[in-house]
Amino acid sequence: MPFRNPQGYARRFNNHHLQGHEHKDLAFGDAIMAPSVERDTFTCGHCQCIVHVHPNDRPDDVGGYCKICTSLICPSCVTLAMKFGCSPFLKKLEAIEHRERMLLSYLGG
């Protein structure tokens, strides 16, 4: 199961519980009056967005697993990968760098 080992973690330090308000925090999936909360996160292998993983989340709700680049991906990239295939972020990084090198060569920099 790919989501058993998400990568990083996020922590929200909160003193809001002193106020007695009840609101839902969508990223953390709990009432924001709760004290400090910690969640696992993973970084999408295709776009690098940070995804929070709630306890007992179904893998389908959190994103997906790209078997081509063997990385966890966010829900948006799952849709894109189904249409256009695997697009790992390091490929995009190379494209950004290539573009800058081309621009510098045109400008004589």
Partner: protein, 149 residues
């Protein structure tokens, strides 16, 4: 072996428009990896929502330079450039938002990447930044980034 650096930034007057609080601009000589950031608000505590966005830029905001502090005091000076309080300037790529989260003004938020989960900075003069906005809160906001290069 790569070295690790930290930079802190302040946005002195949060507004309804997204403003750059802290940005790190890369260089063509290295690929940086941001592995940790923390955001918080330092104004009078109140119940309002503050939006934080982590995005990429192709043209750095006009900012106030802040020092890139090596975590190992023996490390060489950073090749990256850090800056704070860049306002709404610069060219920010909206479709490259990697984090978009509203937090209560009383709360602080920290994200830590595990190995291989870091946010990459290309070997170019592009970079990454933390932007902040709020419809109600107008005090100052603080951010810290740690990266490796």
């Amino acid at each position: 072996m790569s070295d690790r650096y930290a930079a802190t930034g302040v946005e002195t007057a949060v507004s309804a428009s997204l403003q750059s609080c802290l940005q790190v601009t890369g260089a063509t000589t290295f690929r940086g990896k941001m592995y940790d950031f923390t955001v918080s608000q330092s104004g009078t505590p109140e119940d309002s929502s503050v939006q934080w966005v982590l995005a990429r830029f192709t043209v750095a905001p006009t900012d106030t330079a802040v020092p890139e502090v090596p975590l190992d005091s023996a490390a060489p000076a950073s090749a990256a450039d850090a800056g704070e309080d860049g306002g709404t300037t610069g060219t920010i790529t909206a479709t490259t938002e990697m984090f978009d989260q509203d937090i209560n003004e009383r709360a602080a938020y920290r994200w830590v990447a595990a190995p291989d989960g870091e946010i990459w900075m290309p070997a170019s003069t592009n970079g990454i930044l933390l932007q902040v906005a709020s419809g109600a809160y107008t005090g100052s906001a603080n951010a810290t980034m740690h990266w490796e290069e």
